[in-house]
């Protein structure tokens, strides 16, 4: 669904500036692992993000680090039934399993965050 990888490169650049800040605080130790959390609705393509990591981490303390993506599924909320439900399936139509109404209220699944790094 992605039109370009430009988007992921920009996101990775902000991730890398965070990584470098924290690595510098760790007395310049090398980074062995970078873990990010990406929601299914974040509009980020995992493959493009991996590619962006390889490109953007070159020449930094994180070059060659393991890059791990934790996928966050969508959790939607049904206003009628007052319940959360997991937005399963790849079509992004979230229908409440109880009443069948479509939900536009996304509680989780837009995440795009740097979770943690491992210094080695």
């Amino acid at each position: 669904m992605q039109d370009s990888t430009m988007h992921e490169v920009g996101i990775m650049e902000s991730a890398m500036s965070l990584v470098e800040q924290h690595a510098a605080a760790g007395a310049g130790r090398r980074v062995g692992r970078v873990v990010v959390r990406i929601g299914a609705l974040a509009g980020v393509d995992n493959q493009a993000l991996r590619f962006a990591f390889d490109v953007v981490s070159k020449g930094t303390l994180a070059e060659g680090a393991d890059f791990e993506i934790e996928d966050v599924p969508v959790t939607a909320y049904c206003l009628g039934c007052e319940r959360e439900f997991e937005g399963a399936g790849g079509d992004f139509v979230f229908a409440c399993p109880d009443c069948g109404d479509f939900s536009g209220e996304v509680r989780r699944g837009r995440e795009m965050e740097l979770s943690r790094i491992e210094l080695i």
């Binding site: 669904m1 992605q2 039109d3 370009s4 430009m6 988007h7 920009g10 996101i11 902000s14 991730a15 965070l18 924290h22 605080a25 760790g26 007395a27 130790r29 062995g32 990010v36 609705l41 974040a42 509009g43 980020v44 079509d91 992004f92 139509v93 109404d101 479509f102 939900s103 536009g104 209220e105 996304v106 837009r110 995440e111 795009m112 965050e113 740097l114 979770s115 943690r116 790094i117 491992e118 210094l119 080695i120």
Partner: protein, 252 residues
């Protein structure tokens, strides 16, 4: 510790412990923090933009301005709709236009009394909150009640970039096909309003209006839906009504 003859068993306990600990102590003395260390961060990768968007939001509120972020594919009628809106709404408007190159769109919208700022993003495929704030610096926003931000034509990247807007409008023209909402769910999921444009051409194109509406309702049930044609003027009143209804309370 000899595994061959089992002599370790006869070594006094204290020596045994030392023989295990000493190498570790030596290693850690030589290289402090040699063990891998996990640093928990949990920071949004868009934190910088989110902060800038919050500043914009506050600024918009203080000015008493309704701000809309218009997002669509290239060529789905944002500029035409805005040209008519700024002329006909009857409230003082301003427009910030984002484009990869050229200021053609800004010139099309330009008319006396309507401040327009052009942001040329170069290679960036979306506007971000800081670009909008910078674009506004050149504008005289005195008395402006409604500001439209015309985002770069793109249905993917702008989804994640909050500009501080009150209303996010996603436009879909009848030339693009009924299934577009299914192809670009993140942007439609984030819409407050979905506008179907170029409705005057729907019939000629064999556009299945009911199917398009079904798809929009399934993907974006939270969004208000408006169908209009900026050429014939049909449906524009509903659009203007929405804008007036959402104006911040205050002088009008």
């Amino acid at each position: 510790m000899c595994r061959e003859c089992g002599c370790a068993d006869r070594v006094p306990f204290g020596v045994k412990v030392l023989s295990v600990i000493a190498p570790k102590l030596l290693r850690s003395a030589a290289k402090p923090e040699a063990e891998p260390r996990t640093v928990e961060i949990h920071t949004s990768l868009l934190a910088k933009n989110e902060d800038a968007a919050d500043r914009n939001r506050k600024d918009f509120r203080e000015r008493g301005m309704l701000v809309l972020n218009l997002i669509s594919s290239p060529g789905s009628g944002k500029t035409t709709l805005l040209s008519r809106t700024v002329a006909e709404l009857g409230e003082k408007c301003a427009v910030v236009v984002g484009d990869l190159e050229t200021d053609n769109d800004a010139r099309r919208i330009h008319r006396p009394g309507v401040p327009v700022a052009q942001i040329t993003t170069g290679t960036a495929c979306h506007l971000d909150a800081e670009m909008v704030a910078r674009g506004m610096e050149s504008m005289d926003l005195d008395g402006v009640r409604v500001m439209f931000i015309e985002n770069v034509g793109n249905l993917v990247c702008p989804a994640e970039f909050d500009l501080g807007e009150e209303i996010r409008v996603v436009l879909l023209s009848v030339t693009e096909g009924e299934d577009k909402p299914l192809k670009y769910p993140p942007i439609f999921k984030s819409a407050d309003v979905v506008v179907l444009t170029k409705m005057d051409a729907a019939e000629a194109l064999g556009f299945d209006r009911d199917e398009a509406v079904r798809n929009i309702r399934a993907i974006a049930p939270q969004a208000e839906l408006i169908e209009l044609s900026s050429r014939s003027g049909d449906g524009l009143e509903a659009w203007y009504e929405l804008l007036r209804r959402r104006l911040p309370a205050g002088e009008s």
